[in-house]
């Protein structure tokens, strides 16, 4: 039976575990940092002796760690893009905006085990020659910001932060920066603008890749909370131990946020790909199934921006037979391993690791209307297709959920969505069009029926 594997949340929910530094250190906290700071140069084949900072970066690359914020991009590769020759300072920013609907994992770390994040950040900063770092936390986490500030003070007192950390000669300061309720601050270049004290207008890439032109036009690394915690474990246990967890190309653990119509919603840390979507929803160790008498209708597998799956869907996937020869196989939705690659192969994504489950009591038009209203509210407004399109889609759906549907609405929605994706500055364009494209395509009869019913009712009202 698949079970949770708690690496990052190992202690968070243990009785008597608290978020102060004494408790963290009693459980082995800051040992990885001490280890990192004591590392000497390493001899690597073909490269000679490399400095310890580069060695840590190599370890992170070798671990296979992929970003936990949404895109699932290799962390080691991202770090390797950092411009280290510009002579400008390099900045590290922890993305603690946690604003993708359905996601509530980073808050578990911040509220219950903030020192783990701080230790991960100090190590990541050391490895990347960063002397000034920020935690960008969403404005509503007022308590979270307080907890982090207290934890940072504690770390300063113990000389884990500040000048000449533990006598290593390395200097680092970390500050908490609060957002103010705008989803687009989660997008890394929007976040950077916001941290510069401006509206969170995402920047166009190229040329504004954070690794080259980020905060104050200096090289900048933006990583999610969970990603930075994973770095601590990679340094503590070695890249090989980390890569042994999970599945090939989908290494380590991942905290899955499970919400919606399941008996036991909550956060579950699993080895990536070692549980299927079906197990996460139905297994007693996880969601525990649907409510009595209900059937599965739809699943959003990676935060509200991910394309929806319809219950009963199957996917043609590449696999291997017993002898290792490549074969095509058909995989049922519920048998999809919950990892980055499988979900992508099935046409969606594991995004922020948030699964939203909908049973057959869900009005699918209502559900999409809800999601679209979110995006219409949160578009930053810079790009016309996104600003106008997200609003038109939301308005059409609002009409449809208020008895004013039209037969052609389904195609109208698809048409708008198709004209947004790929035509915008940032990935919000995809985030707002993917739900519409997938919901309408996969549940088209329901959308068309809604419009047809409304038109018929109105025709009858007129003829009465």
């Amino acid at each position: 039976m698949p079970e949770e594997y708690r690496l990052i949340l190992k202690h968070a929910d243990a009785p008597k575990y608290s978020n102060d530094i004494e408790c963290y250190m009693k459980h082995g906290g800051y040992k990885a940092l001490t280890k990192a700071l004591k590392l000497k140069g390493k001899r690597v084949e073909g490269k000679g002796v490399i400095p310890p900072q580069e060695w840590i970066r190599e370890e992170v690359k070798a671990s296979g760690l992929r970003g936990r914020g949404g895109a699932g991009f290799s962390c080691g590769l991202k770090w390797s893009f950092v411009d280290r020759r510009s002579g400008k300072p390099i900045y590290l920013i922890c993305n603690a905006d946690e604003s993708e609907p359905g996601t509530f994992k980073d808050r578990q770390i911040i509220y219950k085990d903030p020192h783990q994040l701080i230790e991960g950040m100090i190590i990541s900063a050391y490895a990347n020659d960063v002397n000034l770092a920020y935690i960008y936390i969403r404005g509503e986490f007022v308590e979270g910001a307080k907890i982090l500030n207290k934890a940072l003070d504690e770390a300063r007192k113990k000389k884990f932060l500040g000048k000449d950390i533990l006598g290593s000669g390395f200097n680092l300061e970390i500050h908490v920066h609060r957002g103010a309720g705008a989803y687009i601050c989660g997008e890394e270049t929007g976040l950077i603008e916001s941290l510069e004290g401006k509206r969170a207008y995402p920047r166009i890439k190229p040329p504004y890749f954070p690794a080259i032109l980020g905060l104050y036009m200096c090289p900048t690394i933006v990583n999610n909370v969970e990603t930075l915690c994973a770095v601590k474990h990679i340094v503590a246990d070695g890249s090989e131990a980390f890569a042994k967890l999970g599945t090939p190309n989908n290494t380590g653990t991942r905290i899955v946020s499970l919400s919606g119509h399941v008996k036991n919603p909550g956060y579950y840390e699993i080895e990536v790909g070692k549980a299927t979507i079906g197990e996460l929803i139905f297994n007693e160790n996880f969601g525990g199934g649907l409510r009595e008498g209900r059937e599965l209708k739809a699943i959003i597998p990676g935060g509200s921006s991910a394309k929806v799956f319809k219950a009963g869907e199957t996917f043609k996937m590449k696999g291997k037979d017993k002898k290792g020869n490549p074969i095509d196989k058909e995989v049922d939705l519920l048998d999809l391993p919950y990892d980055f690659d499988s979900l992508m192969a099935a046409g969606s994504m594991s995004g922020s690791g948030a699964i939203i489950v909908m049973d057959d009591s869900t009005d699918i038009v209502d559900a999409l209307s809800n999601v679209s209203e979110f995006y219409a509210h949160e578009s930053c407004g810079q790009c016309t297709p996104c600003r106008e399109g997200s609003l038109w889609m939301s308005k059409a759906l609002h009409r449809m959920t208020h008895g004013e549907g039209r037969k052609e609405d389904a195609d109208y929605l698809l048409n708008i969505a198709q004209n947004i994706q790929g035509r915008t500055i940032c990935a919000f364009g995809e985030a707002c069009s993917w739900p519409v494209l997938s919901f309408v395509k996969k549940f088209k009869p329901e959308f068309e029926a809604r419009g047809a019913e409304d038109e018929q009712r109105k025709a009858e009202e007129v003829s009465d």
């Binding site: 946690e98 604003s99 993708e100 609907p101 359905g102 996601t103 509530f104 980073d106 808050r107 000034l132 969403r138 404005g139 509503e140 986490f141 007022v142 308590e143 500050h175 920066h177 609060r178 957002g179 103010a180 309720g181 705008a182 989803y183 916001s194 941290l195 510069e196 004290g197 401006k198 509206r199 969170a200 104050y216 946020s257 499970l258 919400s259 919606g260 119509h261 919603p265 909550g266 956060y267 959003i300 509200s304 948030a354 939203i356 909908m358 869900t362 209502d366 559900a367 809800n370 999601v371 209203e373 979110f374 509210h377 949160e378």
Partner: protein, 161 residues
């Protein structure tokens, strides 16, 4: 009455500004500080921040109109935020919001922050609060409340009367 920031708060603000290599970065933190203190961001507050950070008032004003958490009008004594996004909607957010609105006597259909006549409470339907596993969710001032049944909502309102 002229606009005045207490000395203690200003000292704290001066310290915050030092966290950044460029002063302008402190804008959001200063807006939070002044809104926390005065209950809203007045024109005077924006001008004060602009001066403090060597900016034009428009540089601050454009933030207040962009970031949903800032308000230019005083709110009720307690501000309630009910999450309206999908997971909470599946868990009964609309009923919860409707119930709270009725209790304090504001229109649930009206957009934006709604303040009760007696000034005790303001209510707002907001986007995902990152607590979706315990839907429906609401905040009262800085505190989170999870799995809020209608009875529990009544208790929270009662406790903050």
């Amino acid at each position: 009455m002229s606009f005045e920031v207490p000395k203690k708060l200003e000292t704290e603000i001066n310290r915050t500004i030092k966290h950044y290599p460029e002063k302008r970065s402190a804008s959001l933190m200063l807006l939070h500080a002044l809104q926390d203190h005065f209950g809203y961001v007045s024109k005077d507050a924006m001008e004060w921040i602009a001066q403090k950070l060597d900016l034009q008032p428009i540089n601050v004003y454009e933030l207040v109109t962009f970031y949903p958490m800032f308000r230019q009008e005083p709110a009720g004594k307690h501000v309630i935020k009910v999450c309206r996004t999908l997971s909470c909607a599946l868990g009964g957010a609309k009923e919860l919001h409707g119930h709270v609105c009725k209790k304090i006597g504001v229109d649930p259909k009206a957009h934006g922050l709604q303040t009760a006549k007696n000034g005790q409470f303001s209510v707002e339907f907001v986007e995902c609060l990152a607590s979706c596993g315990t839907a429906p969710v609401m905040m009262c001032d800085d505190d989170f409340y999870e799995g809020v049944s209608l009875e529990k909502a009544d208790e929270i309102l009662e406790a903050n009367k």
